[in-house]
Amino acid sequence: MRFKVISVSGILIVLAIWSFVTYGGLVGNLFLPTPTAVVLEARKQIAEGVFFTDIWVSFYRILIGFLLATLFALPIGVMMGTSKTWKAFWEPLVGFVRYMPVVAFIPLSILWFGTSDMQKFFIIFFGVFFQQVIMIADNCKTVKKSVLEVGLTLGLNRFEVIKDIVVKAAMPNIWDTMRTVWGWAWTYLVVAELVAATSGLGFRIMQAQRYLSTETIILGILTIGMLGLITDIIFGLLAKCMFPWNEKEKINN
């Protein structure tokens, strides 16, 4: 409870400073709108029906892009983390592509996919996949050798050891990786939408720039922040449900 109060107070302080500089007239409304202006903008967007549509469009893109990336990254990451041969095959490739800035691929992605959802999936996939592979491989490497050997001594073959022991033991850490990378996926989505989109939160922000409608920009940014916070909390709650064994306290007998 105490920590919840502390958490909320951090947000309240920022809000207070924002109110102070805007209502106090220290900063012009064009540069930074008042909280009231942002709330009014939100009401307007909700009334027009664009607010939730934008959220849904952006969320849908990120979800699909992220799931596609995870679908491929999980087996490849596990392969890399458990086999020297596969590591030798994937590592140079992944390491090489990983350092290419995703943003630099946006012009090319538009050429290939236009401004369709495919283009967003591509950018998110590209930004997320290679990081996921490397991090999942690392997650698998942290599994204790003795636990693997238990599997071997019980007569499990290599594949069964990986499937029934390595992946399960690494899963809480892999889940944390997902949680971290999900945050990055938001960045890539907004970048993609800023440049080439006809809908979505990034598009709304971009469009607002043309009319110097800063309250729309601030609203968009805050919305993304809120969505990030909500999904982060969901990730945390799901982890508690999926890995109850991580949290239990000792019983003394």
Binding site: E149, G155, K168
Partner: protein
């Protein structure tokens, strides 16, 4: 003399890389019979755990032959159960599931049968009532009991134990030793037990191999004849103390030999 369950002849193990060449085991030869409790005793670095890993099939010897029931050991197998020093339970499984995990390969056994068997073996190691908790909720002693139950549930003719009580406090350790004595009266499987604790080795074993380091080899073999009705008080008896003296003298001799001659 009963037939040998495990025979090791002239086992050598050399670890090699670019910088160095290290002989971990030199010409190790030993036998383990049916229903025999055999200990490997020695200072750390004498290769006793290395030898156990060879028997388990987790590593390969550089040379020599190692046979179990006449068959050469090439990889891990279910005729050898292993208990590691670090309990190595699977943290996402409940106590009974950890034990039942060992039965994963038993295709013609139903899940209920597996669960019943797991419960039975947890009872055997004194964990009745603790079947439905996670390893993170257990003390070190409890975790090691589960690990022992897991090794026993596949009913291996040979159980390999690598300093299983090394991480436990003195009292828990004594309890676990007595637990082992009572379990083996029941299961009658053979044991290869690795330890650096002299009392433990003498108390539990039918035979103790004292090893020495650099290179790891068997320095002395001591057959132990103590009463079959073991209880803790035996550790104060004269024969027990004599065995202990014999082993300690041997370990001291090794230490003196190691001292630089200058």
């Amino acid at each position: 003399m009963n037939e040998h369950l495990l025979t090791a002849v002239k086992i050598n193990k050399v670890f090699e890389n670019k910088q160095r060449h290290f002989t971990a085991l030199k010409d190790i030869g030993l036998n383990i019979g049916n229903h025999e409790f055999v200990s490997l005793l020695g200072p750390s670095g004498c290769g006793k755990s290395t030898f156990l890993r060879l028997v388990a099939g987790l590593d390969k010897a550089t040379s020599g032959t190692m046979k179990m029931n006449g068959q050469t050991i090439e990889k891990p197998g279910r005729n050898r159960g292993v208990v590691f020093q670090q309990y190595s339970l699977l943290p996402w499984l409940l106590a009974w599931q950890n034990v039942a995990f060992a039965l994963k390969k038993e295709k013609d056994m139903s899940n209920t049968e597996k669960k019943d068997l797991a419960y039975h073996f947890l009872d055997l190691v004194g964990l009745k009532g603790f079947e439905e908790i996670y390893p993170s909720q257990m003390s070190g002693g409890m975790q090691q009991r589960v690990a022992i139950a897991r090794a026993l549930v596949i009913k291996p003719p040979l159980l390999l134990m690598d300093e299983p009580f090394g991480a436990l406090d003195a009292q828990t350790r004594r309890d676990m030793q007595d637990l082992l004595v009572s379990i083996f009266k029941e299961t009658r499987s053979s044991v290869l037990f690795v330890t650096h604790d002299v009392d433990e080795a003498v108390y539990l074993s039918d035979r103790v191999y004292v090893m020495s380091a650099n290179p790891g080899r068997i320095a002395k073999q001591i057959d132990i004849h103590l009463s079959d009705e073991k209880d803790w008080s035996i550790q104060l008896s004269e024969p027990f103390i004599n065995y202990k003296k014999e082993i300690l003298m041997e370990l001291k001799r090794q230490k003196d030999d190691m001292r630089p001659s200058e």
